[in-house]
């Protein structure tokens, strides 16, 4: 398994590469057949460029998610534009907004209904930790209490750029999956996936450096 590459952002510019490398190391600890390995790469290439998300926007952060879909930010450029309203057709769930006690079982159920492999992106302070409503009697303090989270995107609300960056982090994670032979880094049965990637602020892209490459 190689280091995942995202077009137009160099590998070093990404934050939290350590988590990713640890995952790669774990996967590489078992040998893979060359043919099967190439097949894995092909599948991952396809999957990482067509991430379909379940629309799960409960509040303010959801509006920023909508802006992402519109003309200026246009996430279709990266293959995220298909949003599904049914969990059975979605690859990932974007938890954008506050999750309350009443919503928690619903969220869990939707997550359980999604087909594997599935991912969770927690968008905004509320989904990460309860955000401004942490001390409320009716707010869940972080969705990671009930479902495993792959990428955290902080902000209140995060800027659309930050959400895009978070999605790219997810793409990188998808690119190092292994389906054939050996073990997959994704959760063993009944085990929570404990290695989320934490997105701090998005990296500043050095345009000069890019144009040289």
């Amino acid at each position: 398994m190689k280091k995942p590459n995202i077009k137009s952002i160099p590998y070093e510019e990404f934050k939290d590469n350590e988590t990713l490398e640890a995952l790669i190391k774990e996967i590489n600890s078992e040998r893979t057949n060359v043919v099967v390995g190439a097949l894995d790469d092909l599948i991952n290439w396809g999957r990482s460029n067509s991430m379909w998300s379940l629309t799960f926007a409960t509040s303010c952060c959801g509006i920023e998610f909508m802006s992402l879909g519109a003309a200026r930010y246009d996430f279709a450029r990266f293959g995220f534009e298909v949003t599904r309203n049914s969990p059975r057709q979605a690859d990932l769930i974007m938890v954008a907004g506050t999750i309350t006690h009443k919503m928690a079982p619903v969220l869990k159920r939707l997550y359980d209904q999604m087909a594997d492999p599935k991912y969770v992106v927690a968008v905004g302070g509320c989904a990460i930790s309860g955000g401004p409503f942490k001390s409320s009697y009716h707010v869940l303090n972080g969705v990671d209490k009930i479902i495993p989270v792959d990428v955290y995107i902080p902000g209140c609300p995060p800027r659309p750029e930050a959400i895009l960056y978070g999605m790219m982090q997810l793409q990188r994670k998808v690119k190092i999956e292994k389906f054939f032979g050996g073990k997959n880094h994704r959760a063993k049965k009944g085990e929570m996936n404990n290695d989320p990637i934490i997105v701090t602020n998005a990296p500043i892209i050095d345009n000069e450096k890019l144009s040289k490459e």
């Binding site: 799960f56 409960t58 303010c60 200026r72 009697y137």
Partner: protein
């Protein structure tokens, strides 16, 4: 504010009189209260929709075990949901209320959170992961002669067994957030609708009782994030009124411009989403494209796109930037030219017209009785604009038309908002060039304390009247704070509008009512 306390026995008759004789046909607010030792109670703010005269009534009971008060929902239809809210938060039963269930919290919730003696510990109300069972049966109560409460388990079915029930939400794109409808159908026709709220109930009012006033300001932006400025404006105004702070003219001008920009922003989003719901993607993209231009202005001045945290007690957070006026003027010019485009691609489209015209009518009387303010009320012919009724900031100095339509169907509701964009631009253009010099913020004490008493303030939010009620006991934090949700009256009226319409029309009706769920649930 000084509400008149009325004895429980006289209450029903007096309320009837207020409505019939004094013409108090609009129930502005219904506020549940817990006065500790003095008992539990409710404050009503009534308004005469013609003269705009207000009347504040209060009622209380000292029985904390089984508090019961008479209902008013036969006089003002919106009280049905308001009273359910009070029951949910304070445990007050309203006798003769047709549907006394919890409104926001799960029905297995223990305790009444807004009571002062409520125990917030996790052990009592943990995050319950099993699904909630929907109750179709409500408990009915009856007062026996010895003024003691008797519980009779009456079987009032909301939706009876032989109807075809379909569930929409809480996660459904057409509900614009996390609202849940249970519809009883007969063929394609809707017979009954049961609305479940609370999926985004964040407990802001209870939280606020522990926060200081400047801290609470931050939460108002997140109520209805599409009227972030107006919400915060209302709270700031209320606090300023209570403390006797006079803000400068410059502040008033800036606040007004920002409020109007926010209104345009919200209406553009409304247009986009309504179009999206009806299947017109192009209009969605157009709306968002133009909305980004406002967000750019917001970002430059306030630092935030969606949630700006701009107003503060005594003024605004930061002065406007030097290029502000020029940018805003450019934007206004640009926006005016675009409205025709929306009409070309969407409004005048035959499909839009067929799906909206004559669909989902609200009559004027219903609009008032349900308290549907904002664009929805104005589409039914009710002049309910707070900017005209109770002018604040500099709305009495600018000239603008209150857009009023008559039919009250989806199409009118849609048109009202498109026209309001033009009106907002008109307001901005009048004042953008003469923002007076001066301070953008007056100095306030480092610790904000409000003198004892009850205070209210209201502004015209993007989708209706947004009100704030504060009861202060002279502390750093309020004793009770209540926000008047703009959306709750709208969904209360849905029940009436939807009866007998086709299920496909639900989408158009929901889209044009234009509610934002976090504002309903608070």
């Amino acid at each position: 504010m000084n509400p008149i306390f009325i004895d429980i026995k006289e209450f029903p008759q007096r309320m009837q009189e207020y409505k019939d004789l004094k013409g108090m046909d609009f129930l502005r607010e219904l506020i549940g209260m817990d006065w500790g030792e003095e008992g539990l109670g409710v404050i009503y703010i009534l308004e005469n929709s013609d003269t705009h005269e207000n009347l504040e009534i209060a009622i209380k009971t000292t029985d904390r075990e089984h508090p019961t008060l008479p209902t008013v929902c036969h006089l003002w239809s919106v009280a049905e949901l308001y009273e359910r809210e009070v029951y949910d938060f304070f445990g007050i039963h309203f006798t003769d209320h047709p549907d006394m269930r919890r409104l926001f919290l799960r029905n297995d919730w223990v305790g009444y959170p807004l009571r002062k003696d409520y125990d917030e510990s996790e052990a009592i109300n943990p995050v319950r992961m099993e699904s909630e069972i929907t109750e179709d049966v409500q408990r009915e109560y009856e007062i026996k002669e010895e003024a003691e409460l008797k519980k009779i388990n009456a079987q009032t079915n909301r939706i009876s067994g032989d109807q075809y029930v379909i569930n929409i939400g809480p996660q459904h794109p057409a509900t614009h957030g996390v609202l849940r409808f249970r519809l009883a159908l007969e063929g394609e026709e809707i017979r009954k609708i049961d609305i479940h709220c609370g999926y985004i109930h964040r407990g802001i009012e209870k939280m606020s009782e522990k926060l200081t006033y400047p801290q609470i300001l931050g939460l108002t932006d997140r109520l209805d994030y599409l009227s972030a400025h107006q919400n915060r404006h209302a709270l700031c105004m209320c606090i300023e009124k209570a403390m006797g702070i006079e803000v400068t003219d410059r502040t008033q001008y800036i606040r007004t411009i920002m409020d109007e920009l926010q209104r345009i922003d919200s209406h553009l989003l409304f247009l986009s989403c309504a179009a999206m719901d009806l299947g017109a993607i192009t209009a969605f993209i157009y709306g968002f494209r133009d909305r980004e231009k406002i967000l750019d202005i917001f970002e430059e001045v306030t630092g935030g796109r969606l949630i700006q945290n701009y107003n503060t007690i005594g003024g605004v957070q930061a002065d406007i930037t030097p290029g502000f006026a020029k940018k805003v003027k450019e934007y206004c010019e640009y926006q005016k030219s675009k409205i025709k485009e929306y009409n070309d691609v969407f409004t005048n489209n035959i499909i839009t017209q067929l799906r909206m015209k004559g669909v989902g009518r609200i009559t004027l009387d219903d609009a008032i009785s349900y308290g549907c303010t904002g664009g929805t009320g104005r589409a039914s012919g009710w002049a309910c604009d707070v900017r005209k009724r109770h002018p604040y900031a500099i709305y009495d100095k600018v000239e603008f038309k209150e857009i009023i339509y008559k039919r009250g169907d989806c199409y009118d509701r849609f048109k009202v908002r498109i026209d309001e964009i033009k009106e907002s631009i008109h307001i901005i253009e009048q004042i953008i060039d003469n923002i007076p010099e001066g301070d953008y913020k007056v100095k306030t004490k480092p610790i904000i304390r409000i003198p004892e008493g009850q205070y209210t303030a209201a502004v015209e939010g993007s989708r209706g009247e947004f009100g704030v009620f504060i009861e202060s006991h002279g502390e750093k934090s309020p004793y009770r704070i209540k926000f008047r949700p703009m959306g709750l009256p709208l969904i209360a009226a849905m029940h009436k509008i939807l009866k007998g319409t086709k299920i496909a029309d639900l989408i158009a009706i929901g889209a044009t009512l234009d509610y934002v769920i976090p504002d309903i649930d608070r």
